[in-house]
């Protein structure tokens, strides 16, 4: 029986072989029609794209003609296979506009010597003084290499550089990550070290020294502005980051970071000043420039900050995928030895729609306490403190951001996106920082800003 059956089967096979009909093409066509795919993976589609480039144009504009920033940036990644990746960042920023110099508003017009020490500018009565000589172009370049070290380890190292006319930055970073628990847990450690050089126009102001008259360019060419020290100084920053990422179930990821930052050196803002006020009225002390000179019409002192700052922070972020809609909620707490404690709450929700688009609402709230040496102004009778700054960024401050991003993925896999955000910053000077009759009469340099960004991500 079995022999007969085999013979029949073999005969059938031979019959078919004799026909020598190739069924490959018909089979391939039938398969494609079944699966609804193009007949084969074309060589073109297989062509290796070398670079993945994320480029963006960003506009940031503050209200009342303050700072405007136009920035063009590009982040390029090249994949060399085996998870070896090179990342390159390039950005150019152009900053224009005016920025608060730290002085308080006054009933009369106020004249200031500009940061160069060679000119003056005047603020109308009742307005927060803004230094409108603010203008800068910043150029930044960074490179980063990452690769696996052993089976579960990845190592990365990078170098960064940026330059402005009065500020140079060079930094290096090194990081190591290790996966555990079938790659459901990742621990990472990173170390970054930066050295910055600050070279303000006109030289470094002496701490808490009084703003002098402007140096007359015409007859004092070689003369430096008064109350200035060295031409430049440096600042070193060491950052340590320990990270923990855990996959929590099928749709959720938790990330927790601990950060430590130690900055030392010149941490003062050389362009920020404080108003010196009467201890009773809280009003600016008037001043008259020397005969024949132009200069400040009030008493102002350059600010002074400690030469070290140690910050610790913890950041926790949870991401959850609600069947395609991804919610991201993050919270950061940071504290430092300047007594600036801050809380940040941030959330994004990514909503895909129409197959190739997404909308992403974004909200962020930030709140901080004032630095121990923050002052709204200085009383002229009190002994000078060792450190003082009227920079609103060191005040009791809160900021809120709301925004929306729209992204579209093209048929070729490229993505373009647009983001519009509104930012509001509100600072406060609690009574402990106020002098004489200032309480109830303060005016903080609050502002709104709008952020508009266009991005395009493509392969090259």
């Amino acid at each position: 029986m079995a022999a007969a059956a085999s013979a029949a089967a073999a005969a059938g096979a031979i019959d078919m072989a004799d026909k020598d009909v190739k069924i490959g093409a018909a089979l391939a066509a039938a398969t494609c029609s079944l699966l609804g795919v193009a007949p084969s993976v074309s060589a073109a589609a297989e062509a290796e794209s070398k670079w993945d480039i994320d480029s963006a144009f960003l506009y940031y504009g503050e209200s009342d003609g303050r700072v405007k920033d136009f920035s063009v940036s590009s982040h390029a990644t090249r994949d060399f296979g085996d998870q070896r990746k090179l990342g390159l960042d390039l950005s150019v920023d152009s900053l224009t506009g005016a920025s608060p110099n730290g002085a308080i508003a006054s009933d009369g017009a106020q004249t200031f010597t500009s940061p160069s020490g060679r000119e003056t500018y005047t603020t109308p009565a009742g307005e927060i003084p803004l230094d409108d000589t603010f203008l800068d172009t910043r150029f930044a370049l960074a490179g980063n290499w990452s690769q696996p070290l052993a089976r579960l380890y990845t190592v990365n190292a990078g170098l960064g550089f940026s330059s402005e006319y009065d500020y140079q930055h060079i930094g290096t970073n090194f990081g190591l990550t290790r996966d555990f628990n079938q790659r459901n847990t990742t621990l990472s450690a990173a170390l970054a070290y930066a050295q910055d050089t600050i070279k303000p126009v006109g030289g470094l102001p002496l701490p808490l020294a009084q703003m002098p008259d402007a140096v007359d360019d015409d007859d004092d060419d070689d003369m430096s502005p008064a109350n200035r020290g060295d031409a430049s100084d440096t600042k070193n920053v060491l950052d340590v980051l320990l990270g923990f990422t855990q996959v929590l179930g099928r749709h959720t990821i938790l990330r927790v970071n601990f950060s430590y930052s130690d900055a030392s050196g010149y941490l003062t803002d050389p362009y920020k000043i404080l108003s010196v006020v009467d201890p009773v009225t809280g009003e600016l002390i008037g001043r008259t420039p020397a005969p024949g000179e132009s200069g400040p019409t009030g008493v102002y002192r350059f600010e002074s900050r400690p030469d070290s700052r140690r910050k610790e922070g913890v950041y926790a972020e949870m991401r959850h995928d609600f069947s395609g809609k991804v919610l991201q909620v993050g919270y950061r707490y940071s504290t430092d030895d300047w007594e600036v404690d801050s809380h940040t709450l941030e959330s994004r929700l990514r909503l895909p729609f129409g197959g190739s688009n997404y909308l992403e609402p974004h909200v962020r709230y930030y709140q901080q306490t004032a630095a121990s040496f923050y002052r709204y102004s200085l009383a002229n009778t009190a002994p000078l403190p060792e450190f003082a700054s009227a920079d609103a960024r060191l005040a009791d401050m809160s900021a809120a951001t709301v925004g929306l991003k729209f992204g579209h993925v093209t048929a070729g896999g490229n993505e373009w996106n647009a983001r519009l955000e509104f930012y509001r910053q509100m600072a406060e000077a609690p009574n402990e920082f106020l002098i004489g009759s200032q309480p109830g009469n303060t005016q903080m340099p609050d502002f709104d800003a709008v952020i508009l960004q266009f991005g395009y991500r493509f392969k090259l």
């Binding site: 079995a2 073999a10 089979l27 699966l35 993976v41 099928r250």
Partner: protein, 284 residues
Amino acid sequence: MGGPCEVLAEIADEVTARKVVEAVAACAWRIELKFSRYRPDNIVARINASAGAPVEVDEETANLLDFAALIHRLSDGMFDITSGVLRRAWTFDGNDRIPTSAEIDALLPLVGWSKVQWASPVLTLRPGMQIDFGGIGKEYAVDQSIKLAALASDAAVLVNFGGDLAITRARDGNRPWRVGIEGIDASDPRASTLVDLAAGALATSGDTYRYVESERGRLSHILDPRNGRPVSGAPRSVTVAAPTCTNAGMLTTLAMLRGSEAETFLESEGVRHWVQRILPVARA
């Protein structure tokens, strides 16, 4: 899917990786639930319980039936999704029970695609006939899954359902995926063959675990539906590389059905293939 299912992917971030794996898992489960002949509540169960009544099927099932009909024609009736009832006589679990000729012949009236009426979307079987997508389902699931994986991410992804596998693209750096074809002697890892795959799919058909022992040796589980008997001289294992897993799977099945002519068939089709045999081809 009658075997371990795995997804390999070159993805750094976990969100994307999850997305890919979940898309594949959802697809595999969907197809398993819809087309498995072991489920009491799906379209296959409804067709097999129809007892001669016409059954209207959904579009996806209709596409699979069209495909099965076409392969039946291309293979001169050797590939037949109605051949499953022959398993009532043949139990390929390694035993030595060989059915009698009468047992087999009694089943043959219930076997043969030419005996069904298929006018898409209505299928009418003769009473007692059954269909089984076992010969297509797994490869089809691999292809549908890899499509979803490619939609979810542009990363390099490999989907492997019990040895039938497909990739979205070459690995990062344009390196091929290296896939091992298990040797027919599974206890000897050196016997496995390494295959570089830069695009497309691989499918394997074999009798490593499914056979009947007879005095003539091991009989393959590949049955010729035209006579209800095992194909003679079938290789122990056939692996084919093709643009899609369904395509590759059909070629391995058709090669197996050619028995001792498997290699000849694959050569003439001009596809990359790997055929494993233990004994010299026994000619009838």
